[in-house]
């Protein structure tokens, strides 16, 4: 199992991969409550107890069109159990290396809808979690996605009967009325998957 990582404060206003993380204690359970610790790394689930997750990353978000869902690449992630449930994996988010164009109004009412899927070989992919990201201006002065709600489990069930899940997301960046473009560059955000 890979070395664990512990989340530290500071990501909400981070720039490119200003990821402030420290290692999780290898044998301890830690509860992360996003609402009570607003400086927690975005992507941490609310009231979720996790120990020593594996991490798969880093990936850059693809080119997107505001208002339209975009599917990310499917990634295989392997956990420590022989079955995987919806709550056993999730996403950690970081700021990317490229800024939005100024055709996107710098408004805090812009969001990104995040849907996490587990790909089923029979073609019926399972929506496991939903999450919302909010565009804000961080203390670095950069307008990007810097706040996230906790993940909401949509279908709380076993999604794999082995130790490997095939996961992807559908991302929809919202439009704001003052926008005069819908073209979002690749690399706006960076993410990685964790799995217990």
């Amino acid at each position: 199992m890979k070395n664990t990582k512990k989340v530290m404060a500071g990501l909400l206003s981070a720039a490119i991969l200003a990821v402030n993380m420290a290692s999780l204690s290898a044998n301890a359970s830690e509860v992360y409550n996003y609402d009570q610790t607003p400086n927690l790394l975005p992507g941490q689930s609310v009231n979720m107890t996790r120990t020593s997750p594996d991490f798969y990353g880093y990936y850059q978000t693809p080119v997107m069109t505001a208002g339209t869902a975009r599917k990310t690449s499917t990634i295989s992630i392997t956990g420590s159990s022989n079955t995987i449930s919806s709550g056993d994996f999730g996403v950690w988010w970081f700021e990317g290396g490229v800024g939005l164009s100024t055709k996107f109004v710098r408004s805090t009412s812009r969001t990104v809808k995040i849907e996490l899927y587990e790909e089923d070989e029979n073609g019926t992919d399972i929506l496991t979690k939903r999450q919302t990201g909010y565009f804000t201006v961080g203390s670095d002065g950069v307008y990007t996605v810097s706040n996230f709600t906790g993940e909401t489990i949509v279908n709380n069930k076993i999604v794999e009967n082995d130790n490997t899940a095939e996961v992807y997301m559908k991302l929809t960046v919202g439009k704001v009325s003052g926008d005069t473009s819908v073209n979002i560059p690749a690399g706006l955000m960076v993410y990685g998957y964790w799995i217990d």
Binding site: F94, G97, T108, G141
Partner: protein, 291 residues
């Protein structure tokens, strides 16, 4: 990361008001529902500091707009001096330096103070309120107070930023060719606003090992006097290209004169391809993967 201190190293381009030359057209102006005023300062250490002021045009209203921001971005040095051992061990190395995201607690403190002054959370501060602030009452720990307030004053009292033909260009990016070819690759950093490239720095990175940061930058060889005369000639051409891109707001500025040049074994056709791809919004391949 080269810290911002009160002494300016040297000014590459004290750009009080940015302009994108002659490609302002009626069609580009009408494409924007807001105006901006932007003030920038660029320094030899690669840092460019920007104060920008966004305000909606008459008849347009939008909730939650944040009108004022202050940023510092380094377009010359991708990696700072303050990457921690933990970041390296965990492959969490930032691929661009943005003021306040790594580095000293003092800078983090100052950028949080700027965030409070400019009200990034709600955007409810006004231009008049900002102009009334007494700098003597602001206690920055490391950020140059004179720089911040002079940029703010220039932006708030200056002219509108012109509009140009690159509306979809990112507001900032630090891009490199994806692989070393012949043991070197081009790096292009730029800042843009309202369809104009405002600042650009082009460099050559010579491979000097297998680690992510094992390279020698041509610009450093120029500064420390170790560059050959041919390398000096190459760097002068790079500088003239980047200056021309900014002055003419044309990413393929001068390509007919340089695209077939090979100077000090640097193939400028690769640079032309790189800039041409940026112009065509085909630059994803140049985004450096997270290390």
């Amino acid at each position: 990361m080269k810290r911002l201190i009160a002494i300016f190293l040297s000014v590459l381009c004290a750009c009080s008001f940015v302009s994108c030359s002659d490609n302002r057209t009626e069609s580009y102006e009408n494409a924007w529902v807001f105006n901006k005023k932007v003030a920038r300062r660029t320094f030899d250490d690669g840092w460019t500091y920007t104060f920008d002021y966004l305000y909606m045009k008459d008849g347009f209203e939008e909730e939650g707009v944040i009108p004022f921001t202050f940023t510092g971005i380094n377009l010359r040095y991708r990696y700072g001096d303050d990457i921690s051992f933990e970041q390296e061990m965990n492959d969490q190395i930032p691929v661009i330096q943005i003021l306040g995201n790594n580095g000293s607690p003092e800078i983090k403190h100052d950028m949080q103070l700027v965030s409070d002054i400019l009200d990034y959370e709600h955007g409810n501060v006004t231009k008049e309120e900002l102009l009334k602030i007494n700098p003597d009452e602001i206690a920055f720990e490391e950020l140059d107070k004179e720089l911040f307030f002079s940029l703010m004053d220039e932006a708030l009292n200056g002219d509108e930023h012109e509009v140009g033909k690159y509306p979809d260009i990112p507001t900032y990016a630090l891009l490199t060719e994806p692989e070393y070819i012949d043991d070197y690759k081009f790096q292009i950093g730029f800042l843009a606003d309202m369809g104009c490239v405002d600042v650009m720095f082009i460099d050559v990175l010579y491979k000097d090992g297998d680690n992510y940061n094992d390279y020698i930058q041509l610009s450093d060889s120029i500064d420390n006097g170790t560059a050959t005369s041919e390398q000096v000639q190459a760097f002068e051409l790079l500088t003239s290209i980047s200056d021309g891109v900014v002055e003419e707001n044309n990413l393929t500025y001068g390509y007919n004169t340089y695209k077939n040049e090979i100077i000090s074994e640097i193939d400028f056709s690769r640079l032309y391809t790189f800039l041409d791809n940026i112009e065509k919004n085909n630059y994803s391949q140049y985004i450096v993967p997270v290390k």
